[in-house]
Symmetry: none
Subunit: 268 residues, 2 copies
């Protein structure tokens, strides 16, 4: 690795840790990610448990998220990456953590029942790096040590990855998972990223939210949900529009259409 | 996840930890390697330091190497990989650890003055796996957390690898290094882990035609095309649904929605 400056686009890649339990894992994750060139950490509603080194962990208060102070143990394990911890954003929800991201990549275990099989970090890394180098905000999302991410949280992300390993024993510590994913990402950094820059403008996720919300309103207005599973239908639609990397112009067309439908609909 | 057996040749790959200082790292390394399908651990003259959890670490006696007992802390960190610790061989010298190996691969930091630049784990993995599957004994060798391997120890190994990362901050914990190297190795193992066949059913293009046609009819009904470019709008929509590899179920949802809109629309 030449001592070229770290590509500045790596600053557009954030690591998001949701509801982490062990203070040591947060510190180790900070060290792991900084070692692979990433410095933006976001903590979502930490659920710190007590440990030998942290007998009285701080409780997270959603009303004062940014006031949350990590215990000493996190800083000790962070080693020379204390700055990553100090600069970490602390928020109450994953939605807030993913604000203004275009690409969000959730780590999931393969055991989950998923209709779309997750990609491996190696398969997804080029897309993540290309997005970041094209100016987009990218997030790598990790869940709680015991239960991972909720279905809802996974749904907020538009990409899923899984790490493959020993089918008879797979016990990957959270900080190890962060290390592996960021290592994989970094291993692609030296590659020429001169693929065709697409002129497409994928949108921040709030706009997909808006589109789905608009569909939901209209579907309500016309009674489309009667005898149908609302959540499942909306989830499928979201998946479709996430998968398509729906562009601003396409959202405008669809929402313009939905608005016109609303104007023309018989009041119920 | 298919339950294919782990390839038996992985048993010919051993992880060798030389003069490790932190008992936790030995345990975490055991967990990390087992998660990637490796179970043979060799410890060379551990130099355990005292830690909060291990105030009085055992001293290694070269005359009674195999009597060395790892402290509780190692077992706690090993999680479900305690068997790897229990079966670990303990020896006095790296020479003994590498006995009967044909290929030994030392992890080194790039900062060392080396006449032969080290390979990356990705570059070397195929050769290591090929050797193991051809019946050869292979070793992955890691040094002490602070000073790594001595020049002499590195010389005993016939391959050198280094892990690339942030040139301004590279602080890779020992167990993380074991995780990264074993992860890289496993990623080249030809297990049928590759995506479960997706249950997705991309549809013949006539069905996308049908969907676009349906959108067109409804848009006509509600006067959506007034002052808009019909062809361009429909072309954009088609591109969206083509790009998404829209599935049958999603088409059904959208067409069901469009049908309900038509029912609810004021006749024009």
């Amino acid at each position: 690795m030449t001592t070229a400056l770290l590509p500045e686009f790596l600053q557009r890649i954030r690591v998001v840790l949701c509801r982490t339990a062990h203070p040591a894992n947060i510190g180790s994750a900070a060290r792991a990610m900084k070692t692979m060139g990433l410095t933006r950490l976001v903590l979502v509603a930490p659920e710190l448990i007590h440990t030998p080194m942290t007998p009285r962990p701080p409780t997270f208060d959603p009303a004062h998220a940014q006031d949350f102070r990590l215990p000493e143990e996190s800083f000790i394990l962070a080693s020379g990456a204390a700055d990553v911890l100090e600069n970490a954003r602390v928020v109450a929800t994953l939605n807030q953590a993913l604000h203004d991201t275009t690409l969000s990549c959730a780590l999931t275990s393969r055991r989950r029942e998923l209709s779309v099989p997750p990609a491996t970090p190696r398969e997804l890394a080029p897309e993540l790096l290309q997005a970041a180098s094209a100016g987009q905000e990218v997030a790598l999302v990790f869940g709680n040590e015991s239960y991972g991410l909720s279905i809802e949280e996974s749904t907020l992300c538009n990409r899923l990855i899984t790490i493959n390993g020993n089918p008879d024993y797979f016990s990957l510590n959270l900080a190890q998972a962060v290390q592996v994913v960021t290592y994989e990402l970094f291993s692609h950094v030296d590659l020429p990223l001169d693929r065709l820059r697409s002129t497409a403008q994928p949108v921040p996720r709030q706009e997909i939210d808006g589109l789905i919300g608009h569909f939901e309103n209209v579907m309500d207005d016309i009674g489309f949900f009667e005898r149908r599973n609302r959540e499942r239908l909306l989830r499928r639609l979201r998946r479709l529009f996430d998968r398509a990397d729906t562009e601003r112009e396409e959202i405008d067309i669809l929402r313009g259409f939905l608005k016109t439908v609303q104007k023309n609909t018989n009041p119920r």
